[in-house]
Symmetry: C2
Subunit: 317 residues, 2 copies
């Protein structure tokens, strides 16, 4: 089968063997989505080699649980050991020996087939098209912010970053009723949020709103987004770190102490609530899809996903 592989020398689409663990489900990928994490792994930042990709929707072809065969599914990307306290409590997202689809110790979704434990799979309602279902993982990650902080109608909230993660976070958090401002650098991307009734601002005017916000979500992935967030937060405000920066970031820790800021890291979310939102059509995903390519063109597709102005790029095996 074809798969997009990260190797020592770079990325390439290779012909590899179809996976064949009998204890896991075999999923034929219908469509997969390119995430910024894929781009980082392709650059060698995560030390992962193998098939990348963790956003997908597919059809179960083989499975220890026969009742799933033929069903359309998405899959939670963390596969725990099943034995530690966290796994036994039903949340393998922080299992210390977990594998993560296309990220840690497990081949991923930019391939004709992938494997995951049966417990990771969720069937997808026929009301959700493939091109929406493929967004389940980043949408769940956006919703995960609300597992970590509480928001109300009184909360003055800013999201920094108008890329696909920022636009998803803004939509997911707008549902909380908080007083939301999305801050970005690209008028054409901000317009996507504006059309949905979300207030937006370019960085230059936003920068003047010093100490106005209770919560700021950093979803730009740039160190300057971190610095802007510290500027916008009032004392004892909360900075949610949603995107990772490459390597070490220079941080003004004195301001964190003097203004008693809280910083909260946020990563993967639960798929269940995200599926419910997709079923209701509560999130505009069509505006977030820029381009689609066959899997055979995946190297070019990665390059496209890396261009400014390009949002989600999909791959179809």
């Amino acid at each position: 089968m074809q798969a997009l592989r990260v190797e020592e020398k770079g990325v390439a689409v290779r012909e590899i063997e179809k996976p064949q663990r009998a204890d896991e489900a075999l999923v034929r990928v219908i469509v997969s989505g390119i995430c910024n994490t894929d781009l980082e792994i392709a650059r060698g930042y995560a030390g992962f080699q193998g098939t990348i990709g963790h956003e997908f929707v597919g059809v179960v072809e083989q499975c220890p649980d026969r009742s799933l065969v033929g069903h359309r599914v998405v899959g939670e990307i963390n596969a725990g050991c099943g034995k530690c306290a966290l796994c036994l409590a039903g949340d393998p997202r922080h299992c210390p020996t977990r594998t993560v689809l296309g990220i840690v110790g497990r081949d991923g979704a930019h391939a004709e087939y992938l494997q995951l434990p049966v417990t990771n799979l969720l069937t997808v309602s026929s009301r959700i098209p493939d091109e929406h279902a493929v967004f389940i993982e980043p949408l769940a990650a956006a919703l995960a912010i609300r597992e970590r902080i509480s928001l109300s109608k009184q909360t003055r909230l800013a999201v920094i970053g108008d890329g696909k993660l920022g636009l998803l976070c803004a939509q997911a958090l707008a549902l909380s009723g908080a007083q939301l401002l999305l801050i970005g650098k690209h008028p054409e991307k901000l317009r996507i949020a504006e059309r949905l009734g979300i207030e937006t601002a370019l960085v230059a005017p936003a920068e003047k709103r010093v100490r106005e916000f209770d919560v700021v979500v950093e979803a730009s992935g740039a160190a300057e987004g971190f610095a802007l967030a510290l500027k916008l937060l009032h004392p004892r405000g909360t900075l949610v770190l949603k995107s990772t920066f490459h390597g070490a970031t220079e941080i003004n820790t004195a301001q964190i102490v003097v203004d008693e800021i809280s910083i909260v890291g946020s990563r993967c979310g639960r798929f269940g609530p995200a599926l419910d939102l997709l079923k209701k059509g509560a999130i505009d995903l069509d505006s977030l899809i820029s381009e689609e390519y066959p899997l055979s063109k995946a190297v070019f597709a990665l390059e496209r996903a890396n261009q400014k102005g390009v949002l989600k790029v999909l791959l179809r095996p």
Copy 2:
């Protein structure tokens, strides 16, 4: 009067005019304590020029509230505008236009006299000796951690740093009943905590306790303390930043996101609860006093306070 001044060219004890604002209390300083923040300001890190020092106990000599004259007092160091929402709620610690004794826009305590608003002053019980009362500010700062996070007997808690701040934090937090470990580099300083029944460890063995702690308090003021804290915390653990580092610190933000760590900045505390503890004799302060000098020798005293192995250095006008 004599005062320890930070000037463009460095620090010096100068003869300056006695302060004389009629709307504030005039306090004759009995004894003042040298804090690491003083050392940082002396190095030019905070952009403050004037009389430094913010830890003191003194006697009120003049005061708009005549009933305070002659009383022994300590003083909260943040003087708010009195008009903003924070000040009106009785907490000027984050007033955006506050002055801070010996730190921001207000001459400090390493002097024969200082001034503070009457509302900042608290009288000191005769049961508390001067040499304990002078610790009120850093002890309140240590207790302030509990305003920001909740601790229980189940909490696995580490304090990093065996300097005067770390030793005070460890003592203040031990009262919570949490399972506490104090981590430091100096066996002789760790022994002070051990004598009080606090478990301690040197950095090398502590470093092996990867992901064992729910809460880690960084009180070493060193960037490597921050890195060690991230190592010791389990996923979704909390890092309390108690001390500031000079300038920017390189931080591995990816780990904060992947492990969903919370970072909580903590600064000044309330003097009331700290005074209660001092009255009970619940904190061992005598072990934290290394040396005492007359104010005229303050420049030498600063040098001493900067030496390894030296804990609190007191100044007496």
